[in-house]
Amino acid sequence: MSKVVSMSEAVGRLVADGDTVAIEGFTHLICHAAGHEIIRRGRRNLTLCRLTPDVVADQMVAAGVVARLVFSWLGNPGVGSLHAIRRRIESADPEPLEIEEYSHFGMVGRYTAGAARLPFFPLRSYAHSDLPAANPRIVPIASPYGDDTVYAVPPLNPDVAIVHTQRAGADGDAQVWGLLGCQKEAAFAARRVIVVCEEVVPEAVIRSDPNRTLIPGTIVDAVVEAPGGCHPSFVQGYYDRDNRFYLDWDAISRDPALLEAWLDEWVYGLADHAEYRARLGADRWAALAPGEAWSQPVNYGSYG
């Protein structure tokens, strides 16, 4: 059964005001297209969960979509700060932003507990740090064997997880290669899952390599084909990170007026991500295209 819909329909149907939304992807496969559609549709009061809120998070916060941020690293990677978010945190400008802060492993542990229906996830982080004082949900837990103590983090179960992948079947089987982040855990932890992909491929492609499936269609609610949907982040084998954008964002994000103009031009002023892609222009896309480096295929064998 095909679950392929437009981004507009997926976000319209599956992301509601007040939802807890996980948009994961660690440097890789960060779905800007979904973030833009959420902004375009004027969603409000979202709790945005993301290990590394970066440019798209700064855009969503600036657009007034996000009331609360659950995260572990906040920044414009390789460049510096996210100024819209900093204004909210440092000066409540234009309004306060609630934050709930962990380390990376803590966030991964939270999704894992959520996906596994565990009441907590134990880890060795946080001892002697100020993080438990800053976030009272990080608590010590004694081992039932001997006198070892570790820390616990609580489960995180987003209302919706949005996962960008290289290829997916129409019924949602999502295959990923390169950096995997914690998208699998986030998807299994979520009540609803939107898979966004570079390409919808025939089921036979998926089933030729079942080990490559990160997320099975059985837990997926909608599939959106959005080639280029991670720009300016990258998709292994499809396009490189557009570093110029990250550098440019620093100046844009420092100036609320510039930021507003950017949102007008690149989000509100465009009907969908296909227009964004076209507006970037063929030359810019061509400059991001990698060379080819194909995996050596493996034989699963036919047993009939």
Partner: protein, 244 residues
């Protein structure tokens, strides 16, 4: 067409899969029941195996839960950590099958030992994934050949808990038990015969039960296997490896 009580058992289990989606399945009768259901009442049934094969499309009758035919052409393959954490404990399995060496009136199951644990008369395989299946699947179906040896008033060991007092409501014990004699469901946690297979008698049921079995007021007769069901089923197991 004539049919055997084993065939009736598998057919009765298959029919109960109507409306289910993700099914955690074992080898033998459960696998046959699922394959039959996919071809009759529930074409969209997704088969998940304990080995980690998800959405399997076996090109032959699998002879183990890890048969390579379950992997080639599957939707996904997962590690056991992911399988047990995210699929099973995570609540992504709608229905799961269990077998039993012993089962009691509450649907608790023993697959560990006959006799005392420390020095058993018969050492059985043990839990495998059965303990977590019993606790984590949204719904549990048991397929078990019924006899006074398997339907016992007191288990030698509880491997997989059933409708025991104090257990949380969600997935609180098996939903259905299917034997060669009939179909049982649970009423107030008590295994209750709801349907008698054609040809089977209440006397056989009582003889094959270590306690006085509860019988539903509206006890039904299981509709016999149809020709279509039998034709499909026999094609699935032409050598009668599991049909006997």
């Amino acid at each position: 067409m004539n049919w055997t009580s084993n065939e009736m058992m598998v057919v009765a289990a298959a029919r109960r899969l109507a409306g289910e989606r993700v099914c955690f399945v074992g080898i033998g009768p459960p696998n046959l029941a699922c394959s039959l259901a996919q071809r009759t009442v529930e074409p969209n049934l997704e088969l998940v195996y304990e080995s980690g094969a998800v959405g399997a499309r076996p090109a032959r009758l699998p002879i183990s839960i890890g048969d390579p035919c379950l992997v080639s052409g599957a939707r996904a393959v997962t590690s056991q950590f992911d399988l047990f954490s995210f699929y099973l404990q995570g609540g992504r399995v709608d229905v799961a099958f269990l077998g039993a060496a012993q089962i009691d009136r509450r649907g608790s199951i023993n697959t560990t030992v006959i006799g005392p644990y420390e020095r058993p008369k018969v050492r059985l395989p043990g839990s495998g994934g059965a303990c977590e299946i019993a606790l984590d699947a949204a719904k549990v179906f048991v397929i078990v050949p019924q006899s006074a040896r398997s339907f016992v008033s007191r288990l030698d060991f509880v491997t997989s808990p059933g409708h025991v007092p104090g257990r949380a409501a969600a997935g609180g014990g098996p939903d259905t038990v299917v034997t060669q004699l009939g179909v049982y469901r649970f009423v107030d946690g008590e295994m209750t015969l709801v349907s008698l297979h054609p040809g089977a008698t209440l006397e056989q049921v009582r003889a094959g039960c270590g306690w006085e079995p509860a019988v539903a007021d509206d006890l039904a007769e299981t509709p016999p296997p149809t020709d279509e069901e039998l034709t499909i089923l026999r094609a699935l197991d032409p050598d009668r490896v599991y049909l006997g």
